[in-house]
Amino acid sequence: MTAISKTPLSSRRRNETIMAWVFSSPALVLLTVFLLTPFLMAVALAFTDQRLIPNPNLPTQIIWLRNFVRMFQDEAFLRGILNNFYFVVVVVPIQTALALLLAILVNQKLKGMNVFRTIYFSPVVTTMVVVAIIWTFLYNPGEGLINKFIQTITFGMIGPQKWLQNTKLVFPAIMLLSIWQGVGFQMVIYLAGLQEIPTPLYEAAEVDGASKLQQFLYVTLPQLRNTTIFVVLATTILAFKLFTQVEVMTKGGPQNASMTTIVHVVHQGWGQLKVGYASAISLVFFLIVLGVSLLQRYFLREEKAVN
C-alpha cells in the first residue's frame, strides 16, 4: 500500500523539480548572460587595459592596479565622485522633505486632492531627456525665464546668470530640475506609508491633547521610519546613477564642473573606448551602491529585530 502511494508522490516531486527549472530557466539564463556575466567581466577587465576595439598590435595586458592608481590622478573622475556626494548631500534631504510635505498635503481629506496628486506626479512621467531640454530653455542665459524670475523677485539685485556655463551654478541648476522631476515618485511612496499608519494612534494622541505638530513629531515621523529609510537610500542610489540630464545639458562641462561618475564611465568606455579603465570606475561605483544598499538592509533588519 505505502509503496503504491509513494511512487506517484515521488514522481510528482521529480516532475515539480523539472517544471521549476523549466519555469525559471528563461529568466535565469538572461540574468546570467546580461547581468552576471558583464558584472564579472567588469571585475576582471578593471585590472586590464582592454579596449572596445582591440588593436592587433597592442594585445590586452593585465595591468593590475594601474587603473585604480590612475583614477586618483584623474581630475574628471575625482570631480565626478565629489559631485555625486555633493548631489547626495543637497538633493537627498531636500527631496525627501519635500516629498513628505507633498504627501501630507495630498493625504488630507479635502476636495480636489486627486488633482493635486496628479499634478505633482506629472513630472515623473515626463521623460528625463525632455525635462533636461525644457530646463535648458528655462535656464537660457540673459533673457531666460528663470533669470527674469530671480531678477523680479530680488528687484534686480541678482543679475542674469549664465546658469549652465558658470562652473559654480551649473550643478545646482541640474539639482533643481532633478528634484522637480523625481520628487513625485517619493511622494507616492510616502503617501502609501502615511495611509498605513493606524488612525487610532492619532485619536489617542488627540485625546492626550497633542497638538498637530506634536502628532506629526511623535506619531507620523516614527511610524514613517522605514519609509524614510527606503526613500533616503533609494534617492541616494539614484543620485549616484546621475547621467541623462547631465549628458543632455552639459556633457559634464564646463571644465568638468557638472561631471558625474557615470558620465565619466560612459565618456571613457564608450567615447574613448577605454573599456578596462571604465570597468575599474564602474567597480568603484558599484561598491558605493553596494554600501548604500547594505546600509538599507541593515537598518530595516534592525527595526524588525526591535519590534
Binding site: 527549472w21 525559471s24 577587465l45 531666460g144 541623462t244 573599456v275 561605483f285
Partner: protein, 298 residues
C-alpha cells in the same frame, strides 16, 4: 454660557477656514512649480513665430498662447525627420521588452513561490542579491559583450539592432521579486484542488494564478515602462544610425542641431510627452499604486 460657546465655535470655524485657505494656497503654488515647465513647453510649441517664442520667454507671456498660433512647428519637425519611425522604434522596443518580461519573470517567480525543488532558497537569494547590481555598473562590459555576440542570419554583432535594446532588459530581478511577493500572498487552496484534479502546473499558472494576479502584472508593466521608456544611456551606446534608434536619442540629436529653433524643439518634446501624459491620466490610479509598491521592504 451659550454665547461663549458660540463665539468659541465661530473663532474655531474662522481659524479652520483660514487653515484650509492657506493649505490650498500652498498647494496651488506647488502645483504651479510642478506645472510651469510643462505648460511652457506646450504653449511654446504652438507659437508659429519663432521671434514670438523668444520674445515671450522671459515674461508671463511664455504661458499665454498668443500671436500666430498653429501647428507649424509640428510640421517642421516632421519635415526634418521621420518622427513616426522614431516613435515606432520606441514603442516597439518597450512593448516587446515589457511583454516578454511579464512572461518570463512571472514564471520564475511562480516557481520560487510555489514549487518545491532543491536550490529554491539559493535561487531566491541570488535574485534578491542581483537587485543591487545597477545597470550603469555593467553597461560598458555589456557593450563589449554584445559587440561580439552572434545573431540569426550570420550577424556577428548586436550593435545597431532592435534586439540589443530589448533582450538585456527582459529579465529583471526586481520584477521577479515583486511577482514572488505577490504569489506567496495568494491562497493556495484553488491551486491544490486543481493539482489533485490532475491539472498540469502550466495550466494552473495560466488558468488560476494569472486571473488572480492582474494587479501585480499591471504594477510590473507600469514600473518597467516608466524605467525603460526614457532609456538614454544604453541606446546612445549601442545604436549609431537612425533606423533602430528610439525617440530619446532622436530628441537629443535634434536638440543638438544649430541654430536651435526652440519652437520646433518644444513641438518635438510635446509629441514625446503628450502620449505618455494621456496614458498616465487614464490609468492614474494604477501608476500611483505601482510606484507605491516599490516602497515595500524586502
Amino acid at each position: 454660557m451659550t454665547t461663549t460657546t458660540a463665539i468659541h465655535s465661530t473663532g474655531y470655524r474662522v481659524r479652520k477656514g483660514l487653515r484650509i485657505g492657506f493649505t490650498y494656497l500652498l498647494m496651488s503654488l506647488l502645483a504651479i512649480f510642478f506645472l510651469f515647465p510643462i505648460v511652457f513647453m506646450l504653449v511654446s510649441s504652438i507659437k508659429n513665430n519663432e521671434t514670438q517664442v523668444m520674445s515671450d520667454m522671459s515674461t508671463l507671456y511664455a504661458f499665454v498662447p498668443r500671436g500666430e498660433l498653429g501647428l507649424q512647428n509640428y510640421y517642421d519637425v516632421f519635415a526634418q525627420l521621420d518622427f513616426g519611425h522614431l516613435m515606432f522604434n520606441s514603442v516597439l522596443i518597450v512593448a516587446v521588452m515589457v511583454i516578454l518580461g511579464l512572461a518570463i519573470n512571472s514564471l520564475m517567480a511562480y516557481a520560487l513561490a510555489r514549487l518545491r525543488f532543491r536550490g529554491r532558497e539559493l535561487l531566491l537569494a541570488v535574485v534578491v542579491a542581483l537587485i543591487i547590481i545597477p545597470f550603469e555598473s555593467v553597461a560598458v562590459p555589456l557593450l563589449l559583450l554584445v559587440n561580439r555576440l552572434p545573431w540569426f542570419g550570420g550577424a556577428t554583432t548586436w550593435l545597431d539592432t532592435y534586439h540589443v535594446q530589448i533582450i538585456p532588459f527582459v529579465a529583471d530581478a526586481f520584477s521577479i521579486f515583486l511577482f514572488y511577493q505577490f504569489f506567496i500572498g495568494l491562497p493556495k487552496d484553488l491551486e491544490e484542488a486543481a493539482l489533485v484534479d490532475g491539472a498540469s502546473l502550466f495550466r494552473i499558472f495560466w488558468n488560476i494564478v494569472l486571473p488572480l494576479s492582474r494587479p501585480v502584472f499591471a504594477t510590473v508593466a507600469i514600473l518597467q515602462f516608466l524605467t525603460h521608456w526614457g532609456d538614454f544611456l544604453w541606446p546612445l551606446m549601442v545604436t549609431r544610425g537612425p533606423e533602430v534608434r528610439p525617440l530619446m536619442i532622436g530628441m537629443q540629436q535634434f536638440f543638438g542641431l544649430d541654430p536651435k529653433i526652440w519652437g520646433d524643439i518644444m513641438a518635438f518634446a510635446s509629441m514625446i510627452t503628450i502620449p505618455v501624459l494621456v496614458v498616465f491620466l487614464l490609468f492614474q490610479k494604477w501608476f500611483v499604486q505601482s510606484v507605491a509598491s516599490t516602497g515595500i521592504k524586502g
